[in-house]
Amino acid sequence: MVFGRSKRARSAAADPVTLKILVAGGFGVGKTTLVGAVSEIRPLRTEEALTEAGRPVDSTEGVETKSTTTVAMDFGRITIHDRLVLYLFGTPGQDRFWFLWDELAHGALGAVVLADTRRLADSFAAIDYFERRGIPFTVAVNCFDGAQQHPVETVREALDLDGEVPVMLCDARQRESARDVLISVVEHALHTSAQAAATGPAAEPAERSPSTTG
């Protein structure tokens, strides 16, 4: 009804598989735009309640202090077929909410790090985060009008990226472009998992014990 999908009776074994990809990056880099460009539903917003105690006290320029204790993340959905659904989650842009990502990142298939060449440093936090967690990611340079186009290799160097990390240019407003970014993420994830299988289970990222490593 709500999203026009039909419902049939089935057993638990036939329940759909759900996967998620995160879309991260600096403030205003185009995360919501990208999610909206490929999602079959309008980008939805959901709010996660934060306790005041858990909220860092740093002040962020341009972000007015709010008395509410919620933060929004937006998400979209792509139904691959009736038994396979891909969810997209745009992470909150403000770095002070980074701790929300732990929940978002748990079990993620992969991630998009959107970057703006005028503010490359804004994507450092996201890149560090996914590297540390062993979550496969693609860096997508959102080509804002008026921004100088940089060759992909220049961006890779500036971001000090591993050679295997895909870097590509995109226009987050374009459905095909956004779709290609997602394909890159899944292909990278496929490649990464094939490698992990070849190297054995010891190569698995330390996602489940984040406290034991720096």
Binding site: F3, E48, A49, I78, I80, L109, L190, A196
Partner: protein, 195 residues
């Protein structure tokens, strides 16, 4: 909704807090947090021997009156008052466990219309809304939070109630690293290409 649930000091926290009776964790057996992309599945209620329950066709019988009138007021108010307002005379019963044949008005279902377990005053309107949404289509925890315009944490608690009551079940998303076979990722790639 009455304004007295809100004040400047307590703010918007009051409604979710009241709805969950101050609980921040689901009471459902497994303590694990419900994943944002866990699907909540509510199968259609049993409809006796008619065998046509899957089709959302117009029902000749008058619509079940349950959640609308008293249920709505009772649901939210009693739950809310239980925690917030000691003056409230009504004691909220716990969410009833679904037990077929144990319904109080089982006799009235003799006309072939099976009792819908949603006709239960112990369910808050939000509980009922979740079940109804999920009967129409499987929805993830995140989608439900959006649909109900409630924080994810609150929705988790409500889903926990419904799990306990046997009204819904949830899928347990498999982390990609544990996917039984990578062909699923190929399916995703092919599906995206076809967009």
């Amino acid at each position: 909704m009455t304004d007295r649930w809100f004040d400047d000091a307590a703010g918007p926290v009051v409604r979710p807090y009241a709805m969950t009776r101050g609980r921040t964790r689901s009471t459902a057996g497994d303590a694990e947090r419900l994943d944002l992309i866990a699907l909540v599945i509510a199968d259609e209620p049993a409809t006796g021997s008619r065998g046509a329950g899957r089709e959302p066709r117009p029902d000749p019988a008058p619509p079940a009156p349950a959640p609308a009138g008293d249920g709505r007021v009772l649901g939210r108010r009693t739950v809310a008052l239980d925690t917030i307002d000691p003056m409230d005379p009504v004691d909220p019963p716990p969410v009833a466990r679904r037990e077929p044949g144990n319904a109080p008005d089982a006799g009235e279902a003799a006309d072939g219309e099976a009792e819908d377990p949603l006709d239960d005053a112990a369910l808050a309107p939000e509980h009922i809304e979740i079940v109804k949404l999920c009967r129409a289509a499987d929805l993830s925890v995140a989608e439900l939070a959006t649909e109900l315009d409630l924080p994810v944490g609150v929705v988790r608690v409500l889903i926990g109630d419904l799990l306990e009551a046997g009204l819904v079940r949830v899928t347990r998303p498999v982390p990609p690293a544990e996917l039984p076979d990578v062909s699923i990722l190929r399916e995703v790639i092919n599906g995206l290409r076809a967009l």
